[in-house]
């Protein structure tokens, strides 16, 4: 039996329906973005344009960093719950008794965490750009609207989210407690954010080539992570708690 997008779609649709009626998910998806839009606006609108170039870069870098922490944090909450949460609720075993392949289950879960994350992250970034264009000092706005900064945000948002999702699902397949899985996933989602932070703070000069190279590497890691997590997905261990 080959890979089926119908089965991926079944998991994806089920997850979205579940999110819609899950208060914890609703609060997370609505309150976290509010924090992550307020903080950078405070950073950007309180910059003194007379500051040194280094200080200016640091404040703008910090503001943009918030935009990349968001796609790391939001899916980590969802993906960390994805397997261990089903296990706790007793819903994992019935799903695993169907013809679904591990890869299909994981892709369905990953897409259900990725797409809402991208929607929220891009909308929040759009709001920030609109506010900067309308209210920020032109000197600040011109830095924010630099091509490299925009590219970093647009390119790295899905890649950072992808890393966070696979890290979360991997941890979720091995943990027996949702809360512990979520805490570990938040920590595991930070490394790519750190690299992008170095570029935002101009510690690493963010040339187009470097950004594309790093993005390619992250894309490769995300793709390999899918296979790696699928190999880790041990039905026997998940159902019985005992290694096969």
């Amino acid at each position: 039996m080959s890979f089926s997008w119908t089965r991926v779609g079944a998991i994806f649709q089920k997850e979205l329906r579940d999110y819609r009626r899950n208060r914890f998910v609703i609060y997370t998806m609505s309150l976290l973005p509010l924090v992550f839009i307020a903080a950078p606006m405070v950073q950007l609108f309180t910059i003194k344009v007379s500051s040194t170039s280094a200080k200016l870069d640091a404040r703008i870098g910090l503001a943009l960093l918030y935009m990349l922490i968001l796609p790391a944090i939001i899916p980590s909450v969802l993906s960390a719950y994805s397997v261990v949460g089903e296990r706790e609720q007793g819903t994992l075993e019935p799903i695993l008794t169907t013809p679904i392949h591990s890869e299909e289950f994981l892709v369905g879960k990953a897409l259900a965490a990725l797409l809402p994350t991208l929607a929220v992250a891009y909308v929040i970034f759009g709001i920030l750009l609109g506010a900067v264009a309308a209210f920020a000092h032109p000197g600040v706005a011109s830095v924010i609207f630099e091509r490299n900064h925009l590219l970093i945000q647009l390119l790295f948002t899905p890649l950072v989210a992808g890393w966070s999702i696979w890290a979360g699902i991997a941890i979720s397949t091995r943990m027996s407690d949702v809360r512990a899985a979520q805490q570990l996933t938040v920590l595991a989602s930070l490394p790519p954010v750190a690299i992008v932070a170095l570029m935002n703070f101009n510690v690493i000069t963010a040339s187009l080539g470097l950004a594309l190279g790093l993005a390619g590497a992250l894309l490769l890691i995300d793709a390999m992570a899918w296979r790696f997590v699928a190999a880790m997905f041990d039905r026997e261990r998940l159902v019985t708690g005992t290694r096969s």
Partner: protein, 331 residues
């Protein structure tokens, strides 16, 4: 309605060869490290048969179901499930032909009944999803609850939704793991009625339970597992294998010399007095022995209240075997 749902049973192997058995299990063993879940289990289940799998807690019933459902790998032995050899690479193909209803319904409580079923219909890649859902809900008498959130349903109703989910794909073999566990008597009766209807329609059911009256009422054959398979057969066969046949004789007053009444009668193999005062007479053939016993009692001037064959239930068989195992384990 249910027959339409289950009507898609293909009773053939991968190669199109016609098969007589829905399940063939040969010397199957599962160990978790040093712990033996079940050992050297062999049996066959025919198509259209309701097969009861009995045993105390920890006997290995659920682990056997999970093994046959490809959720866990056996340590040794072999099996064929719905015509397909039990091997890791055949997992999806086997799971496409069977349905397993675990002990806990495992429904998505924030989804409606119909949404739960829709998800599973798509996982089986069924056509006519809405039609399948409608028929499955009709089979368990839940059509009017399709749009209710599963979290709002009682335990009994959730069990019925889980049964509808198991019927959805028209499985060749339906595994039911403790389907009435934790249900109140009314909900239990409802599930029994549904299973009886499935049995009437020729659905192959593998039923694990420790409700013995459930197995006796619903199953064509039963197996008793206590890590190893202790006994297998029709409930009446098991009773005959394990217990001699008895006539229970009740008289108004105690017999003066019961030995003189019962000893030496045709078809009588022995007798004893029960704590209640009745005489339990072991016989080879109750119908042949009863007239002779009646005549002997009249001859002894006894006032006969009743002479009746005493029946052993499946529970007696089960307890006898489990007690034997407990005794055997004593140092």
């Amino acid at each position: 309605m249910t027959s339409e749902l289950i009507g898609s049973q293909g009773r053939s192997s991968h190669d199109g060869e016609r098969l007589e058995a829905a399940l063939v299990v040969e010397h199957l063993t599962k160990r978790f490290g040093d712990r033996v879940a079940y050992e050297d289990v062999s049996f066959e289940v025919g198509y259209g048969e309701v097969f009861g799998f009995l045993g105390p807690n920890g006997a290995g019933k659920t682990t056997t179901v999970r093994t046959l459902g490809t959720l866990i790998a056996p340590t040794s032995g072999s099996a064929t499930v719905a015509g397909i050899p039990l091997r890791a690479e055949n997992g999806p193909a086997i799971r496409a032909r069977i349905s397993i209803m675990p002990e806990s319904p495992g429904l998505y409580l924030r989804l409606t009944v119909a949404e739960n079923l829709e998800c599973f219909a798509r996982l089986y890649e069924l056509r006519d999803v809405q039609d399948r859902i409608d028929r499955a809900l009709q089979a368990v008498n839940l059509s009017d609850r399709a749009n209710d959130l599963c979290g709002s349903l009682s335990k009994g109703l959730r069990q019925r939704v889980a049964l509808a989910r198991a019927l959805l794909s028209g499985p060749e073999v339906l595994f039911l793991d403790e389907p009435t566990s934790g249900l109140d008597p009314v909900a239990t009766r409802d599930v029994h009625d549904l299973l009886a209807a499935l049995r009437e329609r020729g659905v192959t059911i593998f039923l694990t339970t420790h409700r013995l009256e459930e197995a006796e009422r619903l199953c064509h054959r039963v197996a008793i597992l206590n890590t190893t398979l202790r006994l297998i057969g029709r409930p009446d066969e098991l009773r005959e294998q394990l217990f001699s046949r008895n006539l229970e004789v009740r008289t108004r007053s105690q017999l003066d010399e019961p030995g003189r009444v019962f000893n030496g009668l045709a078809n009588v193999e022995g007798w004893e007095q029960s704590p209640s005062g009745a005489y339990v007479v072991n016989v080879s053939d109750p119908d042949a022995a009863a007239p002779g016993i009646a005549r002997a009692l009249v001859h002894a001037n006894a006032d006969i209240l009743s002479i009746a064959e005493s029946h052993h239930s499946l529970e007696d068989v089960y307890l006898e075997l489990v007690d034997e195992d407990v005794e055997a384990k004593k140092p």
